[in-house]
């Protein structure tokens, strides 16, 4: 009998975030007949730990700096002692950490880097700080959007054979088993309103102000017919959060909005909402759209990232140009004008699309094929055929 492949997901933390959720979902859904799964958070623990399956071996390294030598050695020792075959890193900081371990000869495991970088609009460059670790310390590159894959090939100069496009997927089980939370009761939203849920940490990239301005653009009657629940960390960028709160007051819509902080029961919150909303200015995914769809939520969102582009014409949500609050206001107005049946149909279409195209098992087979290719293990050809080229 063949030995199981030992795979370790490596992230900065286990705190709630898109990249971290993708890592957890992959860790949970790798085939247990052929894989043994480990998870390492190199900086800190977090709420997502409770989402990991019980058979996943977890270590939290608590490194304090990028080049924390002691932690680097401890990590290398653990990887060697456990005989890890593949290290799958998420996030550029984590990638550099592992690439350094490889360059120093501390570890020899294959390194798969999963790039979720969401600021390509600001930084399309590739300095030495990225090029060197990507060339010398990464054996396979996974981009969550085609723009990242093009960047990896054209700007970084990685061989196309090393680069794969793997769109994010969603673990439907998390959403099928969630018991809905009654948001109206839990957050004192009153009756008869359409409850919108936005799941996004309070960070500038998520562009809550565009959503708030869009709500302010609606007529008084439209405003009073909706309530917005915002779920996400309020401490990630305190100045930004404070600015958002001041803006709500200035726009006189603070009574329509509840901020509930970071939660680990997003599926239950989604199950209790009437629609999703997402106003980010730039994303590579964004995973949250898949989660809305998995929860049968119709949504209004800005069109940014691979998933938004992929579902654009599928009638599963209303997509508008990022940063354009007038367009987003039109989207919200259109959602409000739909009948409950029309919204339910839209939500159902989203769920079906996730099942056929974005289900976690579809995604994870592509990832398993990349691991197998690195270790030169034979896999079915359809799964292996994921190269971006």
């Amino acid at each position: 009998m063949l030995r199981k492949m030992k795979v370790m997901m490596v992230t900065d933390s286990l705190q709630v975030g898109g990249a971290e959720q993708v890592a957890v979902d992959i860790a949970n859904s790798l085939d247990r007949d052929t894989h043994e799964v480990y998870f390492c958070a190199t900086r800190c623990d977090g709420l997502l730990r409770s989402s990991l399956k019980s058979d996943v071996e977890v270590m939290v390294l608590e490194r304090s700096a990028t080049w924390d030598l002691l932690k680097l050695l401890a990590f290398g020792k653990y990887v060697r002692s456990e005989g890890i075959d593949v290290l799958h890193s998420h996030g550029r900081g984590t990638m550099r950490f592992i690439a350094l371990c490889k360059a120093l000869g501390i570890i020899s495991a294959q390194h798969v880097f999963h790039d979720h970088f969401g600021r390509m609009h600001l930084d399309r460059s590739a300095g030495r700080g990225l090029k060197i670790p990507l060339h010398r310390g990464v054996d396979a590159y996974i981009g969550v959007e085609s723009r990242l894959c093009r960047w990896a090939i054209d700007t970084v100069g990685l061989p196309a054979a090393k680069v794969s496009l793997v769109r994010s997927g969603v673990d439907l089980e998390r959403f099928s088993t969630a018991s809905p939370i009654d948001l109206r009761e839990e957050f004192d939203l009153g009756e008869g309103n359409l409850v919108l849920l936005m799941v996004a940490n309070f960070r500038p990239q998520k562009d809550h102000p565009t959503l708030f301005q869009a709500i302010a653009e609606l007529s008084k009657a439209q405003q009073e017919s909706l309530r917005l629940v915002v779920c996400g960390s309020t401490t990630a960028d305190p100045a930004y959060f404070e600015g958002c709160m001041e803006m709500l007051e200035r726009l006189k819509i603070h009574h329509l909005v509840r901020t509930i902080g970071v939660r680990n029961d997003a599926p239950a919150l989604m199950a209790g909402a009437d629609a999703g909303v997402f106003s980010s200015k730039n994303e590579s995914g964004p995973l949250v759209l898949l989660e809305y769809m998995a929860s049968k939520l119709p949504f209004v969102a800005t069109e940014t990232g691979e998933i938004a582009h992929a579902v654009k014409d599928a009638g599963v949500g209303i997509l508008t140009e990022p940063r354009d609050y007038l367009a987003l206001a039109d989207g919200l107005a259109a959602l409000l004008e739909m009948t409950p049946e029309q919204r339910a149909e839209m939500g159902e279409r989203g769920r079906q699309l996730v099942i056929t195209e974005f289900e976690q098992h579809v995604v994870v087979r592509q990832v398993e094929a990349i691991y197998a290719q690195l270790l030169r293990i034979c896999v079915p050809s359809d799964a292996a055929n994921t190269q971006a080229s």
Binding site: H121, P204, E217, Y240, G243, C244, K281, R323, D324
Partner: protein, 368 residues
């Protein structure tokens, strides 16, 4: 949908009604206006409208524009001001009338290359977070002859811009980097910039429309600098924007550096206060649009301008304040920052002079 809660306290800028507008301001430009209009009519991507704001020309400019509008492949919307407004207010009036999602600015004396509009609009369409794109230009003489120089280099911004695909608001806050005729702007940035604040007209340090617009654009989005040359920028004695070529450049630079280093205290103080007011106005606009981080950056730079205003304190106290500014990185570490440190140091040890210096450059305070 009738908004009952406008998103800002300022007058609301209406929704876009077409794709691309060109905002053109004119004043006694009969000599070159036809060449410009023909070059706009020859664009690979035509605008939907050209909005002309004439600032009371007393030559044939208006007649020539009206003739052109008879056969133009796009709508030409001409308005003649009742009273002369001056360049900055005139552009504000033109921008207010533009209906496009994207707005390109034009000067009456330039010649656009056929791909100019296409290239700038492509950049804006490619990424919705980009609020402004601008390019370099070739300098041409009064008769259209190439002068062999690039605009960015003659304004001493070439090195700065070529190494950055994205230009942050901090750089626009410290100096003028753009010229209106090289830029195209997303409506979001124009909406945030209008109406132009009164602080732009401060005599001690006026801020031109293009610097204000680019400052606001960088504060409410991303600004991209395209190093290719997309137009011929005409150099002639009557133009508004100061350009120095050949032997003029080192001489004027020397004069400007001397003037900055030896500027009397009261003039220098007025300049800092004017800049602080202008940057605070931009920060307010960014804050209104929800770009809090950018607003904070601008407020910090404005605060530093206020801190540089020199009072009656001791020389040691003034020097200490400069050292603190340097340690905090508030001056920036480019050539301009170093000149500012030197100027502040000179003024803090010999603060006696009182008259306004002559920089020898048109719009010198705005350029440097």
């Amino acid at each position: 949908m009738t908004p009952e809660h406008p998103t800002t306290t300022r007058n609301r800028y209406p929704r876009a009604q077409c794709a691309v507008s060109v905002a053109l301001c004119t004043l006694n430009g009969e000599r070159w206006i036809e060449q410009l209009l023909d070059s706009i009519a020859s664009q690979q991507r035509l605008p939907d409208e050209v909005v002309v704001q004439d600032d009371c020309s007393d030559d044939n400019t208006v007649v020539l524009i009206e003739e052109f509008s008879q056969h133009a492949p796009f709508e030409v919307r001409l308005e003649v001001n009742e009273n002369r407004l001056g360049s900055t207010a005139n552009f504000a009036a033109a921008l207010t009338r533009c209906r496009g999602r994207f707005i390109a600015l034009a000067d009456q004396d330039d010649v656009w290359y056929p791909n100019k509009l296409q290239r700038l609009i492509d950049e804006l369409e490619l990424d919705p977070t980009v609020t402004m794109a601008f390019s370099d230009a070739d300098l041409i003489g009064p008769e259209g002859q190439p002068l062999g120089h690039r605009l960015w280099d003659t304004r001493l911004v070439g090195r700065t811009l070529r190494k950055r695909a994205v230009v942050p608001e901090e750089l626009f806050a410290r100096r003028a980097l753009t010229t209106g005729c090289t830029m195209a702007v997303r409506r979001r940035a124009v909406a945030a910039s209008l109406p132009f604040p009164a602080a732009l007209d401060n005599e001690a340090a006026p801020m031109r429309h293009d610097r204000w617009l680019s400052l606001v654009a960088a504060s409410v989005g991303t600004v991209r600098a395209l190093p290719e040359s997309l137009l011929g920028f005409r150099v002639h004695p009557d133009q508004e924007t100061g350009v120095l070529v050949g032997a003029q450049l080192p001489r004027a630079l020397g004069r400007a550096a001397t003037a900055v280093l030896s500027a009397p205290v009261d003039y220098s103080n007025q300049t800092h206060l004017a800049r602080a007011d202008q940057l605070e106005a931009a920060a307010e606009r960014a804050n209104e649009m929800g770009d809090f981080e950018e607003a904070h950056t601008l407020t910090e730079i404005a605060n530093h301008h206020r801190a540089r205003v020199q009072g009656e304190g001791s020389t040691a106290g003034r020097l200490r304040s400069i050292v603190e500014g340097v340690r905090a990185g508030a001056y920036g570490w480019d050539r301009l920052g170093l000149v500012a440190i030197a100027g502040d140091t000179v003024r803090s040890v010999r603060p006696g002079r009182r008259s306004k210096p002559d920089t020898g450059m048109k719009n010198g305070s705005d350029s440097l």
